[in-house]
């Protein structure tokens, strides 16, 4: 008697095929102009922004793009500005937590966090909204140091887009408390009495200006086709990944073309920029509709 192997259900067959031949599996979807998660090639995933999730931070934001989750928190400290004497400073740090993806648990150092840190930092500082003078409390004596820490909690593609969005959300939600500088040089919360130093500081917590919020869209190129907002699977299959950062006026503020010896055609480049401008409108709407909680 011959043993008869029951044919596996269609679901698990597809699952096995996906594991064994991920590129073929994906290309079959691509040939039908669709993607395994049901999106069209240029369709992006929904994004969400929640503000004020961490009460120990001076401002915070939890953002999601599809499954990709990033939490951003700002801590304010006080420093003595030296050079130039009327500017505060900003320190950005991006970390991939050990829990964000299966690759991270080996604790192998990768260059990804420093790459993201550098890119987010460039996006924030490059924007016209970034005015280090606004962080000055009293020239030569005290200024705010803004520590912006970003943690990737779930990595499913487009980490840069998520980090930039989280950074913008947290910085937009940041309110600087009115403070006084005492004669001894200490910074204390402002009382209602007249300023000791004679300068006019706002008595209400004030926000940093936020024109021209830069936001990023990442596209992947697979088989010479442009795929917007790729998941981590799609990123790993892609020949190259292009991240375009644009501001509110549609100006390109950064373009990152990573990986592969693949040439990016001018047509694709133009397509990336147009897609990033469209995505900016979407993300900006999400960002603006996020309400800070009342404390």
């Amino acid at each position: 008697m011959t043993a008869r192997v029951d044919s596996a259900p269609a679901d698990s067959q597809a699952e096995a095929f996906k594991r064994l031949y991920p590129d073929q599996y994906y290309r079959r979807f691509l040939s039908q102009n669709t993607r395994p998660d049901g999106r069209s090639l240029t369709q992006t995933r929904p994004a969400s922004v929640v503000l004020g999730v961490i009460t120990s931070a001076d401002s915070s934001a939890l953002i999601k793009i599809g499954n990709t989750t990033v939490i951003a928190g700002v801590k304010l400290e006080v420093l003595m500005p030296k050079d130039p004497p009327d500017q505060g400073c900003l320190q950005v740090n991006v970390e991939l937590t050990t829990l964000c993806s299966p690759e991270m648990r080996d604790n192998r150092p990768t260059e990804v966090p420093s790459f993201l840190t550098q890119q987010v930092d460039a996006a924030v500082r490059g924007s016209s909204a970034w005015q280090p003078q606004a962080l000055c409390i009293q020239a030569g004596r005290a200024a705010w140091a803004v520590y912006l820490d970003l943690y990737v909690l779930c990595a499913d593609g487009v980490l840069l887009d998520a980090c930039v969005l989280a950074a913008m959300a947290a910085l937009n939600a940041l309110r600087l408390a009115p403070v006084d500088v005492t004669d001894a040089g200490n910074v204390v919360a402002a009382g209602n009495d007249a300023m000791t130093d004679g300068t006019s500081h706002p008595q209400q917590p004030y926000a940093l200006s936020k024109q021209g919020t830069p936001l990023t869209l990442t596209c992947a190129v697979i088989d010479d086709r442009l795929i917007a907002d790729p998941s981590s699977e799609e990123e790993s299959l892609a020949a190259t990944v292009v991240s375009t950062t644009v501001d509110g006026q549609g100006h390109v503020m950064g373009l990152q073309h990573a990986g592969g010896g693949v040439e990016l055609s001018t047509a694709h480049l133009q397509q990336c920029i147009t897609a990033a401008q469209d995505r900016h409108t979407d993300l900006f709407r999400v960002l603006s509709s996020a309400q800070p909680p009342d404390h």
Binding site: A57, N67, N93, L99
Partner: protein
């Protein structure tokens, strides 16, 4: 960049007024804003997010995976725990520049990881994944007090979500001794003024203790009372 922390308000000096705590709880009451959820990290085998008012912890489970040779050979499976704090989790920002302060913070995180491992291991059927490792990755997003206890509850939930065979869930809580009072489930402000602390982790259905840790000075009566209080009150929590 040399900067000093700025705090808009000092920590409260008095923790109790008329027998109630600052957040309106009685001495033997858990925080009210308890939120538990699973499937928070799509990439992981199992995950959870747990909130006890201001204490917010996210845990992801990966594996079981093959145990590396460098980690030695074990017949049974092993849990490997990792705890880290977000830089903005506490009142004072976690140091990233100062090496001495960084190593102190790392030591604290390692200690919590080993305590988490101790509390979870008895509940896990290690024989069900021989010679393999299950990674328990825990990030404290906001440290609002009783972090380890909350992390233990979250990790047990995530292990269950990952389908790891367990004898029972693990629930944990802390009790702080402040003066001669015992405060259940302390916040950071309360823990800041504590003279001693007791953390108990147990399997509630089996009624077995998986870990008990007592630090600081207690009279024996206070220790027993703390134990009674935590074990008794853990039941409804689980």
């Amino acid at each position: 960049m040399q900067s000093v922390p700025f705090h808009a308000a000092e920590r409260p000096l008095e923790l109790l007024s008329n027998g109630t705590r600052l957040d309106g709880r009685s001495l033997e009451e858990f925080r009210r804003g308890i939120f538990l959820s699973t499937r928070s990290v799509s990439q992981a085998s199992g995950s959870s997010y747990v909130e006890f008012d201001n204490t917010k912890v996210i845990v992801a489970i990966y594996g079981p995976r093959e145990g590396g040779h460098s980690e030695g050979l074990y017949e049974q499976g092993r849990l490997q725990c990792d705890v880290s704090f977000a830089a903005f989790a506490s009142r004072q920002r976690k140091q990233t520049g100062d090496r001495a302060k960084m190593s102190k913070q790392n030591a604290y995180e390692k200690e919590l990881a080993s305590q988490l491992c101790t509390a979870l291991t008895p509940a896990v059927q290690l024989a069900s994944f021989p010679k393999s490792v299950v990674d328990v990755c825990c990030v404290v997003l906001e440290s609002g007090g009783s972090d380890l206890a909350v992390a233990t509850c979250a990790a047990a939930l995530a292990l269950a979500d990952a389908g790891i065979e367990m004898l029972d869930l693990v629930a944990a809580c802390s009790v702080s001794r402040v003066g001669d009072q015992l405060l259940l489930d302390p916040t950071t402000d309360e823990a800041h003024r504590e003279g001693g602390n007791l953390m108990l982790a147990m399997m509630p259905t089996a009624n077995l203790v998986t870990s008990i840790m007592l630090a600081g000075e207690h009279t024996s009566a206070q220790a027993t009372e703390g134990y009674r209080l935590s074990s008794y009150l853990l039941q409804p929590l689980a």
